[in-house]
């Protein structure tokens, strides 16, 4: 059969049963935990994981924790609550803004932004980090620009110097690490386990925070491509608002899609190209399936390989010296 999107099609019932079986085995039999805590963001991944956790342990043994901070979109909380209600899961809200302010997360980020835009005013200006959007056409390198949109709606972009880039990322990573801390508080209080929400794209390309959202007891969807997560979400009855929502970082003050922040092309294209790379499919065959040129596929092959290689450190466990 010709290479095409069918290669990403899951048997959703069988996949769900498999994941649920492993979750029960690991959490209850191996770890001896009584249930599960899921950080519910209002996005597709955590929504799907919540659905899986409910199937594995029952709604009464699952706790959903929403952890917004001041850069979070209000609609995220709304969608998360709707889903928790649909599944019959207890949902609690832990606003992390004060804690992050206490850690000077925002002050550290603002300091770095001002080193690039000296007139930056966090009270009115919106910022985000973006990569070039021309991966398919030109294969450009992953160099971040800082985007600042003023109160007048005018956007300015500048390539980030290394020091500012590293400081902004280090400060914003406090958000994911604070969420991990809060999830473990609630898990330990109940003798539950923390269920991770990283998918294959995030894990293999390094779009996660080490000891932040990467810190969990089990990662039930880490083996699945993003488009496969959508298949599972549909099967598990995730609410349509979440399924229809564009995946965002929900980390910076300006609305920022995951595509412009990290992945650089739509998931439908990326997953098929990535599948091709994983399975040694010639670029020309992938190109035919996507109706693009083999050179464009090669651009993405190269980007995926580069991201995977340069983020090995994130996936590495602490190395014990013998």
């Amino acid at each position: 059969m010709q290479f095409g999107t069918h290669v990403l099609q899951l048997d959703v019932e069988a996949e769900t049963n498999h994941i649920v079986t492993v979750m029960r085995q690991v959490i209850q039999q191996d770890f001896r935990r009584r249930g599960a805590v899921v950080g519910l963001s209002g996005g597709i991944d955590s929504a799907t994981v919540l659905g899986l956790a409910v199937r594995a342990f029952g709604a009464e043994r699952v706790l959903a924790v929403m952890m917004p901070e001041k850069a979070s979109s209000p609609v995220s909380e709304q969608y998360a609550l709707q889903l928790a209600e649909k599944y019959g899961v207890t949902a609690i809200k832990e606003d992390l803004t004060a804690g992050l302010a206490g850690l000077s997360c925002y002050a550290r980020q603002d300091e770095a932004v001002r080193s690039v835009f000296s007139d930056y005013n966090p009270a009115v200006d919106k910022i985000k980090l973006v990569l070039p959007g021309d991966l398919l056409e030109r294969g450009s390198l992953n160099v971040y620009s800082l985007s600042l949109t003023g109160a007048d709606g005018v956007e300015r972009r500048r390539v980030l110097p290394v020091a500012a880039y590293l400081q902004i990322v280090a400060a914003s990573n406090m958000k994911q690490r604070s969420r991990m801390l809060m999830l473990y508080y609630h898990a330990e209080q109940r003798n539950y386990a923390v269920i991770g929400t990283a998918n294959r794209n995030e894990h293999a390309q390094g779009f996660f925070v080490k000891y932040g959202d990467g810190g969990a007891d089990i990662q039930p969807i880490q083996h699945l491509y993003k488009t496969q997560i959508y298949q599972l979400a549909d099967y598990l009855g995730v609410t349509q608002e979440i399924i229809d929502r564009t995946p965002t970082t929900d980390t910076y003050s300006a609305e920022c899609s995951q595509e412009e922040f990290y992945f650089r092309l739509p998931f439908e294209q990326m997953d098929l190209i990535w599948y091709g790379l994983d399975h040694d499919i010639p670029a020309v065959d992938v190109a035919v399936a996507l109706q693009i040129s083999p050179q464009q596929v090669e651009h993405v092959y190269r980007d995926l390989a580069q991201k995977n290689r340069s983020t090995e450190y994130l996936r590495a466990k602490p190395i014990m010296v013998r």
Binding site: G139, S140, L141, N142, V143, Y144, V162, R302, S310
Partner: protein, 83 residues
């Protein structure tokens, strides 16, 4: 000092942490071998700016300009004003 030698010195110092045992020729694939990662690319952009007075526009940040010392040298040479 020649352009390629200045780039080599920068790569050894900043990307190889002073390790001179690595076989680093003008044609060694810096990106594909992982010698320069995404942070290294940004460092290189600012090194070029500070050392040669050249701003590298986003549209020039391509593998064909950055993947080897030879390619970086060629890019810088063709950008430096003659005379």
């Amino acid at each position: 000092m020649e352009i390629n030698e200045r780039i080599r010195e920068f790569v050894v110092e900043n990307c190889l942490f002073g390790d001179t045992s690595v076989d680093l020729t003008d044609d060694t694939a810096l990106l594909d071998s992982g010698i320069i990662d995404s942070t290294g690319v940004i460092e290189m952009v600012f090194f070029i700016s500070e050392t040669f007075g050249l701003e590298v526009p986003a549209e020039d940040m391509l593998p064909e300009n950055f993947n080897s010392i030879a390619r970086l040298s060629a890019y810088i040479e063709q950008r430096i004003p003659v005379g």
